[in-house]
Symmetry: C2
Subunit: 457 residues, 2 copies
């Protein structure tokens, strides 16, 4: 099922290729595409080599915990594969080399992850609050960068900003933010003396997204024109347009409309404002398993509508990438704290030490479905060891550790192996919107060890 | 709408009254009942005197924040009215004086709140994890109590326990827990050398509850008998029965069935076990605004089924009270960080600095509906100041501070006053399952100031 990779992209290859404004399609891209594709053209979630690296890390960690004995609390832990991160960045830069990723820190605010991205270079940061701006600035500074070096790599991309956060950003010389209302423009004018520049966030038709955003943010074109006028009245510089098609959007035509609307508003602003726009923020919402089609649609549409500006370098196109850069990078491994065999049936309830109030809050907040991978069975390490599957499959339900009946991780599934109390179950693709919103409900911890590996080394 | 109270219960009155096994009904209770009742027999949520105390605290806090200027982040804050807590305890002890409350720490793990309950006396603690046990034990110890003094006041009431947590409880001499499976009994036997006693948690029909629990926990009577046998085989002492009708249950007849089932299993255990059972845990799920009817049903049923044992003192009846003791005690006040007047309509979007990822996670996890109270309007303090209402009401939606479209606090409401950026909005009845599961998603804080007042002083 998982094809091997013979020609992986290395970090040295992550430089921008030259761009022509000609349209490309998925087949063109496939010809020189170095990632394993499924028959439908999507990218395989996790390949064999990556899994081997992660498997080794999980094995070593579980061995260490087991040796420590039952007194040690066997907390859930993550394995973060920086090799997978490199490949995701490489994939993005192959398909959309003229769109600079700005990592959406909210997706997974892990400091080492942010530091790694800074070291990789050519990645900016989308911050949603004072604390995220502070985190990113501190890491830049600890690596020896001055504010002048990195300030253009940080965008305060929350259309509604508490005044105290806005003042902090302004004091740190972060001078690009998004707005979608006249009131926000007035707030910026009042508190930053016109130093903060803005992108006008327009609405998109994100009705097909798993997590739609336009219900909360974005201005339609008519209202956007009023915002433009207010900016001009108050002397706020408009740097360009931002849109977001919603996390996990499914209809690539949404992108066509959004780019087209952006172009209309872009032209409108440029006829009104002394300085031309120079930034287009195309948002995020991409996921690894359905990346290529929308990415190619976006590429084609950007080249169609903004090709000349992209080629002459007078526009900076940026994206707010979260899930795409993190989901497949992190594997979560949880401990089985209890098992209950239902009376007179083949049903088994499995209780884990992580759940909807912990790292798996994504099930509730993010509508994510997670897939359990039995990692140890009766103490034996069986991670993706399909050959030892039991012939008779039972029906399992998986539950979190809290006293809340809502805390159900998987209602009904079959597991590859039988599990008992003390065994471990992993969840791959768990890096996006997971630990970012874990709680301490019922007194369970929300601080977890993260083991870093690199499947590209 | 809010009646004044002329005869409030003081803490000195919280002693147990003598009990007779005769049945009582709601009308009997009403004759000597000192709380304001609505025509339907429910208790008023918040009375005038309480509100005055809370209002003063909110006013002072906002005044302080406003004086500090816009650089200060105006975080959300709580006002905790310990007078209201006293009244809730008094109400419980009036209606169910023979049922000792064990506070469900998970509901609101505020350390000062736990300390206050210890100081009040006659309250135990329902802990769900190692951390909650540690918190409660540390507070007891800091107040000069020895483990021998308080160990019977702590129950580890999570039917599924991580081994490391079980070992901790055992080492702290906490020796009462709940079980609902044979596997858990075997775990206890293996790791505590039979020192941990158990209550068998039975299922209830909690299908009418806002947060049903029996989907996750509880054993039916037939399975319970098998658990009993396994306890006897392994030398685990069964102290009695536990049930929980689900948080916010609506059908009091559920209680009748649960008490009746408890009696059947109780008798079964007593015929099998050398030592008689002596603890019945009647769970929680009560809320202030629908308390009296189910409480009287429970009282009558307990006296019917366990009256003799209650009167001769050979049974300890305990309850797991969370929402009932905390909800009305805490008022949350949040700051308006942004306002957006929709184009060509009377609709206004209001963005708050708290939401579904913060203290108002109860909306998602707990199915709670919250009611906004405009606290300042254009900077003027108008908390429950109905006389200054605007004649023309607009349609408001209220949103949290994160970038997630799901983060909607109230979809559609009318507010008593117009609000603008910088104003404050309060939410009463926000003490249950709120800050207990607040997150730092998007970099917003989950640590908030809590101001303590006492409307009984």
């Amino acid at each position: 099922m998982f094809k091997s990779i013979t020609n992986r992209v290395k970090m040295s290859q992550l430089c921008h290729s030259s761009i022509t404004a000609s349209r490309i399609n998925l087949m063109d891209l496939g010809n020189h595409y170095s990632y394993p594709l499924t028959p439908s053209g999507s990218v395989e979630s996790i390949n064999v080599s990556t899994r081997k690296t992660i498997k080794q890390a999980i094995f070593e960690k579980i061995t260490t915990i087991t040796k420590a004995g039952p007194q040690l609390e066997p907390s859930p832990f993550y394995v973060c594969d920086l090799g997978e991160l490199k490949r995701q960045l490489g994939l993005w830069n192959q398909v959309l080399p003229f769109v600079k990723p700005y990592y959406a820190v909210k997706c997974n605010p892990n400091a080492k992850f942010v530091e790694t991205l800074i070291k990789f270079g050519n990645v900016g940061f989308d911050c949603a609050s004072l604390d995220e701006i502070r985190t990113v600035c501190h890491i830049y500074e600890s690596l020896g960068y001055s504010t002048a070096d990195f300030k253009d790599n940080v965008i305060y991309a929350n259309p509604v900003k508490p005044v105290s956060h806005l003042l902090y950003a302004n004091n740190k010389n972060i001078n690009l933010t998004t707005v979608d209302s006249i009131e926000e423009v007035e707030k910026i004018a009042k508190f930053t003396n016109g130093r903060m520049n803005v992108l006008i966030r327009i609405t998109t038709d994100d009705s097909t997204a798993t997590c739609p955003l336009s219900v909360k943010f974005g201005a339609d074109l008519r209202y956007s024109c009023q915002i433009v006028q207010r900016c001009l009245d108050l002397g706020i510089r408009i740097r360009g347009i931002a849109f977001h098609c919603g996390s996990g959007f499914k209809d690539p035509s949404t992108l066509i409309k959004a780019v087209s609307d952006s172009r209309k508003l872009w032209d409108h602003i440029n006829t009104r404002q002394y300085e031309d726009c120079d930034v287009l923020d195309v948002g995020g919402g991409f996921s690894k398993d359905s990346f290529l089609e929308p990415a190619v649609v976006l590429r084609n549409e950007l080249l169609e509508k903004f090709g000349n500006r992209i080629n002459d370098g007078s526009i900076k196109v940026i994206s707010e990438l979260g899930r795409f850069l993190t989901a497949s990078v992190y594997t979560l491994t949880t401990n089985v704290i209890g098992v209950r065999n239902e009376l007179d049936s083949n049903k088994v309830r499995v209780y884990l030490n992580d759940g909807l109030y912990g790292n798996l809050n994504c099930i509730l907040y993010d509508h994510q479905e997670v897939e359990p991978v039995v990692t140890t069975s009766a103490g034996n390490f069986v991670y993706h060891d399909a050959e030892e599957r039991e012939p008779n499959k039972r029906q399992y339900s998986l539950w979190g550790p809290t006293c809340d009946g809502l805390d159900c991780v998987v209602k009904k599934t079959q597991l590859s192996h039988h599990v008992q109390c003390g065994d471990w179950i992993s969840f791959e693709n768990c890096g996006a919107y997971t630990n970012a919103a874990a709680t301490t409900f019922n007194g369970f911890t929300n601080e977890f060890e993260c083991i870093y590996v690199d499947s590209e080394i």
